[in-house]
């Protein structure tokens, strides 16, 4: 494992009486592409959302690129640390969540300008390059409403990348897409992986996992039940539950 970028230790998350995550530990090294999969309600999405504190863990600690946060009260320093982690970890949502009142380019430069204080010019220039890479240069001045789902998700990826994150978190990025639009988003993600981006991806696109993942984690009932390289895991999972799930999605 190269430099360690994410270290999750003994993470536990409860929503009221419901325990969603039960003592999860996970380390992700620089350049790794970790695919997380499991049935709905298994806790995989909560796991991802705890990394950038969209969910506040009940127990355990999260460390992203040297910034470590334990469970605790929301002090000024802790809030600042959370912000630092969020700036280092770009996130892509299932439902895109583009800002509908802003154009594509405005979406892309909003955070670099507002959060990092970059100049509009600087953020726009980098944004243009990133947008060109996902093949959407000509859409820069459109509003999100005029885009297809696949285009929206590629813009959402670009928006996250323009913060120059160290890692990218993908929460079922293709689940809300029509089947014919899934490919374009996966291609963009594949390119990103090839460039060496560290990625955590929740997906059931096993073709993508086989091709791109360096590691796969099967989350079941709040724990990482099984992990391993894609070839070994997809061919011969140790656990019966993993095998059954894979049979269902493959």
């Amino acid at each position: 494992m190269a430099t360690e970028l994410i270290r999750i230790e003994h993470l536990q998350k409860c929503f009221g009486p419901l325990q969603v995550l039960d003592d999860v530990s996970l380390k992700v090294g620089s350049g790794e592409v970790v695919v997380i999969f499991g049935r709905s309600g298994s806790g995989k999405s909560t796991l991802l959302r705890c990394i950038n504190f969209l969910e506040e863990p009940t127990r355990g600690s999260i460390e992203v690129d040297g910034t470590r946060i334990d469970v605790g009260h929301m002090t000024r320093t802790r809030r600042e640390k959370i912000r630092q982690i969020r700036m280092k970890a770009g996130m892509v949502f299932q439902e895109f969540n583009l800002f509908p009142h802003l154009t594509v380019m405005e979406n892309i430069i909003e955070a670099p300008v507002t959060v990092k204080g970059e100049s509009k010019k600087e953020a726009t220039e980098r944004g243009k390059e990133l947008l060109a890479k996902v093949g959407l240069s000509e859409k820069a001045d459109e509003y999100p409403i005029r885009l297809s789902g696949g285009q929206k998700q590629r813009v959402a990826i670009t928006r996250a990348l323009n913060m120059r994150p160290k890692i990218m978190l993908f929460d079922e990025p293709t689940s809300a897409l029509d089947p014919e639009l899934i490919g374009e988003v996966l291609t963009a993600m594949k390119t990103l992986a090839e460039e060496g981006m560290t990625m955590l991806v929740i997906t059931h696109e096993m073709g993508f996992a086989r091709e791109v993942a360096t590691r796969m984690c099967f989350v079941d009932e709040g724990i990482i039940l099984e992990e391993g390289g894609p070839t070994e895991l997809l061919k011969g999972a140790r656990h019966e539950r993993t095998r059954r799930f894979l049979e269902a999605v493959l």
Binding site: M91, P100, E110, A111
Partner: protein
Amino acid sequence: MATGATHGERQRPSFSLKERLEARSLATPFKAKLAAVYVLITIVLLLLFAYFEFDTAFMAEWLPYIAGGVPLTLIICVGGIILATALAVFGALGRLSKNPLAQGVANFYVSFIRGTPLLVQIFFVYFALPQLAFKEQTPTFLQPFLVYDITFAAILALGVNYGAYMSEIFRAGIQSVGYGQIEAAHALGMSAGQTTRRVVLPQAVRNIIPPTGNEFIAMLKDSSLVGLAGATELFYRAQSTGKAESRAYETLAVAALIYWGLTSIFSFFQKRLENKMGRGYVRELASHGH
């Protein structure tokens, strides 16, 4: 008609009066019928008008004076809606705030103002506060803030009153911005304040502007209450001349027509605005989830 049917031609299929009226009705466009109803209403009103011998000369004579109240009515309403909008922003943010002080103050404001009559509030600002100003224990520096001329008192009372109602409109507008938007902003590292200013409020404004137009139109009518406190606006002029000249029918009819004209004009623009913004919003929603 019934006689025509009995006269000879019994064999021909005969239609009753009801059936013929129905057939005629079907052939007439709805808009034409509506126009006919409007014409009818106008005729009835004009007949009543003539029957009671409304003094049209008197109305014409006093129209300029009564209509002279329109600028003041508009000034009060524009001022009132601006103040109400500012207060509603704070009211809504307060009601949504997790800070107990902010929420408590906002809850009190909305509850108290909505729970008391506008007329009482107007009189309170114009007649009660000045009394406080001249009490012994009132510090002198406070006095200018307790005594207002009637125009300013009207703006203050209407603004504070409408601000409370509009707080709820604004709150709903803010809450209708999807949680996914807030999460996306947070995930990008935006602070709570940045998220509110850059993501939530701009979208909430789109939901808020059309109902704010409605509130303005409602305020146009409610501003007549200020006349009772002596502001020489539209209603005051109408009812004072009406009383003085024993022509309340005429002057109040003139005032009512002017109010109606004003609200119609603003309703027209408000509808257009609503259509324009409503379309954008519906399309946005449709594209949002999938």
